[in-house]
Homo-oligomer: 450 residues x 2
Amino acid sequence: MQVEITREYIDQVEEAIERKDSEFILSTMADMYPADITTVLYELDANESKYVMDLLPPEVGAEILSDLDYDIRTDFLHYFTSAEIARYINLMHSDDAVDILNEQSVQTREEVLALLENEEKSEDILDLLHYEEDCAGGLMAKELIKVNLNWRVRQCIEEIRRQAEDVERIYTVYVVDNKDILVGRVSVKALLLSRDDKLVKDIYSTDVISIESFRDENEVVSVMQKYDLEAIPVVNIQGRLLGRITIDDVVDVMQEQAELSRQLMTGISENVEEDDSVFRISRSRIPWLIIGMVGGLLAAQFMGMFEKDIAILPALALFVPLITATGGNVGIQSSSIIIQTLSSNAVMFENFAQRIFKLIMVALLNALIISALVFSFTYLLRSDLTLAMVVSLALFSVVMLASMMGTITPMVLDKFGINPAVAAGPFITTANDLLGLAIYFGVAHLLYNL
Amino acid sequence: MQVEITREYIDQVEEAIERKDSEFILSTMADMYPADITTVLYELDANESKYVMDLLPPEVGAEILSDLDYDIRTDFLHYFTSAEIARYINLMHSDDAVDILNEQSVQTREEVLALLENEEKSEDILDLLHYEEDCAGGLMAKELIKVNLNWRVRQCIEEIRRQAEDVERIYTVYVVDNKDILVGRVSVKALLLSRDDKLVKDIYSTDVISIESFRDENEVVSVMQKYDLEAIPVVNIQGRLLGRITIDDVVDVMQEQAELSRQLMTGISENVEEDDSVFRISRSRIPWLIIGMVGGLLAAQFMGMFEKDIAILPALALFVPLITATGGNVGIQSSSIIIQTLSSNAVMFENFAQRIFKLIMVALLNALIISALVFSFTYLLRSDLTLAMVVSLALFSVVMLASMMGTITPMVLDKFGINPAVAAGPFITTANDLLGLAIYFGVAHLLYNL
């Protein structure tokens, strides 16, 4: 049943926990989806949540644990013994189990592994623990349905029935040869439509897209999206079938990436949500504010060199916000388009020289438009030809240089393996502020012969 | 076969088109996935692409058309007659077909609909054309597998075999009653594991999450994500089963949304990619640059009111970049967290007063830290106590006010049905610049008794 979780219900649950009324909790939660129970637990404190978890059937508890945000889960699992964790792990898919074990201390991890009853699961988990978290091997689950090339349809259906116990959703039935090399796939549909004594090799399709276990998670996302796959088999370098990645894992990766770029672009250094504590939200924001502050103080020091110029010609100071704001806007626009290209793994047939040429043309066009407009307005507003020339010439240079910076910084960061989205945030804005001021006062100093 | 598309191959294809060498094109593309052929077509001009499309089997052409970016597709389809479009539409899923028809002129749409041979498809499409594009009805496809509550397993398997012709991937088999009301689901697994003469009503599960056709696409995304669904049935207000939405459509919606917020946040007003033309990239950037420019000129006009103050005390001007940059950073940080909350449909148990109180506490804490630091540094650098007080007091007020603005603007925009991510872009930065300057010069004027 889809339920609306209300503040009243949360209060009732808290009171029920207080008076140890397991009846109320079990009866109201019996018809709820684990995802809804998770929403309730987020509103309780750890001790209360633990009380609820102990009451729930272990299968539901396992789903809830798989669902939880990883930082909350790590804290929450401190309230559980290794034996309790092992009981849940036994009921999870291998990929979720490995995620949780990776978050534990070495000691807890070893204890839990030793306590696992299901030997096949334990082996699967040990195997998966070898892979880096952000590669195809780290995303895959071992649960899949595979059949041998030389089997008959009858044998396949039996095997599917047997293996289906483990596999919640049948995506594709993979076909392997005697050495366990992935050679193709056969759809449930094809199996249902074929006579029982047909051989797999006569009905299977060799048309299967797979990915090697060492590939980066971004590659997994782009391959699955490009070919519109809802599951992809993972193979080792020899082509042996190791596991499979399903689209829900990919959706999670996409979300994490979107969240990460959002944080980088907005200068928030931790994963916070609106209902986190004041102290935590504050802590996540202060680092970038301090970087911005240092940039602002550097700008003050730098402009201090021109203090006499400003005293003679205070009108100069009036256009400082125009210069810094335009530099910032152009820098973010330029970096944004490069970051998109870099992160989409798009095929890029234009070579480096062509791309730089085009970038210069775009910057030139926009710089001309903006500086022509600013020249006209400044002259109209202040009737000072030299000032209008200084401001518009400086603005022209700022647009050109901020475009370059905005384009080149993400490319350089990417080359060094740093997430280029860093460049779209306060960093590039601050750098552009300083650059813009240097140009502006340089041009003014020259044109006014100050 | 997964292939690497090379510049050389594109050149060869272009030459082959030039000399009308259909042999080369067909033989090299025969083993390619439609998604890879799409990549090739992106590199050709419209006439060349049309030549290739005419050679390819219509099933492949239909997949390629479904895949194309919508703006490119709209242009490209001008090269096709209505009869040609109808031939492809016949081979598409109903949801893709409707997307394409919605992009055509009324005349083309009517012509194509009249030319459709498959009557069932034609009815499905007419039905789907009634829904708004960004609601559940606009995302759904009519192709699904449903069985009646009173059927036997044998009859279901036969029905699946029959319907499976249309449905590429069997996600779930939906169970309806005699009035076509969705009552539950039965897994292929359960059907395979049951005896042939069992009744559906004895093995089906009532546990099915559905969504009404009028729900917004964001709701579809959040429900499917929350409950980890790979397909969701769409029902009308009476509960009648209308169609189903699959996770690949949701992935597309997620991508569009991420792309849209990226554009709004970076001040890019059109969907451009790095390989678009210079003119188009320029056009997509200029509107926000002009808005920023107007803001900058307003700031200049405003500061002009304090020109005499600056002439007396040029040091005042030095801290303008610090004030505007900090205001901008704080504004973007604040709006970002609200936008995330608004777009995630997160359950929000804290009431409005609590949220505003917490926001004030966070702003207060950060404002205190930043202004204390700036007070110390300014005093150290300039040994002017009044100046240090002016700058830090102004900064304190700017952080407080920019936090408010950054929080309240997205909430107000959201109330009026405007995408709140607009507020995270140059708009809020520009507004914060003006606000910050007003505070700064106001405070200076007061404290210095200018």
